[in-house]
């Protein structure tokens, strides 16, 4: 959403780029790309697989936001054993039918801990923030499109 907060600058952006696989497009596979923007930490097996696909196909991979950078607030589950969490949600929760912990093979298994993406693949640039401001995202994209190494100037750097 913070990316979309660049507002009308999206029209400028679209003149210079083509979107590949993204939540805004219908593409199901990652194609060869110059830039991959990854938000979110790595919490399940599917996240690992998709992250690796992005790394394989993108020349530059950017970690966007606190979750991708340090696991973020979801990594607060790292102090609780996974089995206790699943038990608490799917068995002990008073408002849910006790259907048990979902075990369909369709569903990706959770990892025992949430990890930042740089613990799984090499990351080229980081845009911190929860979320980063639209101006920070815009500034990094503009630098990358111009072939410059992105620099987050004063006021664009925050972790919260």
């Amino acid at each position: 959403m913070s990316f979309l907060d660049i507002d009308e600058r999206l029209f400028t952006l679209i003149e210079h780029v083509t979107f590949d696989r993204s939540p805004f497009t219908d593409k199901k596979e990652v194609g060869e790309c110059d830039i991959g923007l990854i938000e979110g930490g790595v919490c399940n097996a599917e996240n690992v697989q998709i992250l690796r696909e992005f790394r394989q196909h993108c020349k530059i991979l950017v970690a966007l936001g606190a979750c991708a950078i340090n696991g973020g607030l979801p990594a607060q589950r790292n102090s609780i054993p996974l089995s206790s969490l699943l038990q608490a949600v799917y068995y002990s929760s008073p408002r849910l039918p006790h259907g048990g912990i979902p075990d369909d093979a369709e569903l990706p298994l959770l990892l025992d801990k949430v990890h930042p993406i740089h613990e799984v693949v090499k990351v080229d640039y980081f845009i911190p923030g929860c979320p980063p401001s639209a101006d920070a995202i815009w500034s990094v994209l503009r630098d990358l499109l111009a072939g410059r190494a992105p620099v987050l100037g004063h006021g664009m750097l925050h972790y919260d």
Partner: protein, 240 residues
């Protein structure tokens, strides 16, 4: 006040007995630091105030200034090392700034901004130390502790209470509460204590008072830590 040394390109006056850091701060020149507090004895644990004197690295908070000394501080090399130190502090704890009540008022965070930290770079430790909420007015989140020992020193040297201590060795070093139960609620710790107000991060927090200051109005929203520290020292008579 006739004696001086040089810090980068500036001439800094000092009085006998002053450390490099004390003299620099008195002259409103910022050297990054986390475990130093003007009202307490230096500790030398955070190493952020590392400077180069005579080609060797030393802690500016413990080395006394001497006439004609040439000190390097704000250089690419030293700032890169400071950045690595801050990154180590970030991965050793759970510094989830987005939900921390200290965000915007935190010296670790502000120092990381000052040094341009974009990511913590290293693999995370994800420590798991239970919160101590036993005290009626304060809580302790030990997962944010950077072992600066400011609360330990403030409680012992100023409050005369000896509420806190560092225990364990190496990576297992951690902050403890000096009570048979280990709980803050079983000590005489109180809101008027110096120790209640020196934590540079979000370990010692008052209860029922979080997120009171709007974003944009918090300490380090308004100024960088360099400007903040420089403006509060010097002739104004010491930092609060």
């Amino acid at each position: 006040m006739s004696k001086t040394f040089t810090l980068d390109d500036k001439r800094i006056p000092f009085e006998d007995g002053q450390t490099i850091l004390q003299a620099a701060l008195a002259a409103s020149v910022y050297i990054p630091h986390l475990c130093y507090h003007p009202d307490l004895e230096p500790h030398g644990s955070c190493k952020l105030c590392t400077v180069k004197v005579g080609g060797r690295q030393t802690a500016a908070c413990t080395l006394r200034a001497a006439e004609g000394m040439a000190v390097e501080s704000d250089t690419g090399e030293i700032n890169a090392q400071r950045l690595a130190l801050v990154q180590m502090l970030f991965v050793e704890g759970n510094h989830f700034c987005p939900s921390c009540e200290q965000s915007g008022d935190c010296r670790l965070q502000a120092t990381a901004y000052q040094l341009g930290m974009l990511s913590p770079h290293f693999d995370h430790f994800f420590p798991n130390r239970p919160v101590d909420a036993s005290h009626p007015d304060f809580l302790l989140d030990f997962n944010r502790c950077i072992l600066c020992s400011l609360c330990v020193r403030a409680s012992r040297e100023v409050d005369g209470k000896n509420v806190f201590a560092l225990a364990g060795r190496g990576l297992k070093t951690h902050l403890i509460v000096n009570a048979p139960s280990g709980k803050l609620g079983d000590t005489d710790f109180g809101g008027a204590d110096k120790a209640a107000h020196v934590c540079p991060v979000g370990v010692i927090l008052p209860k029922r008072r979080g997120f009171a200051v709007p974003i944009g109005e918090r300490t380090f929203d308004k100024s960088s830590i360099a400007d903040y520290v420089a403006s509060r020292h010097g002739k104004r008579g010491g930092e609060k």
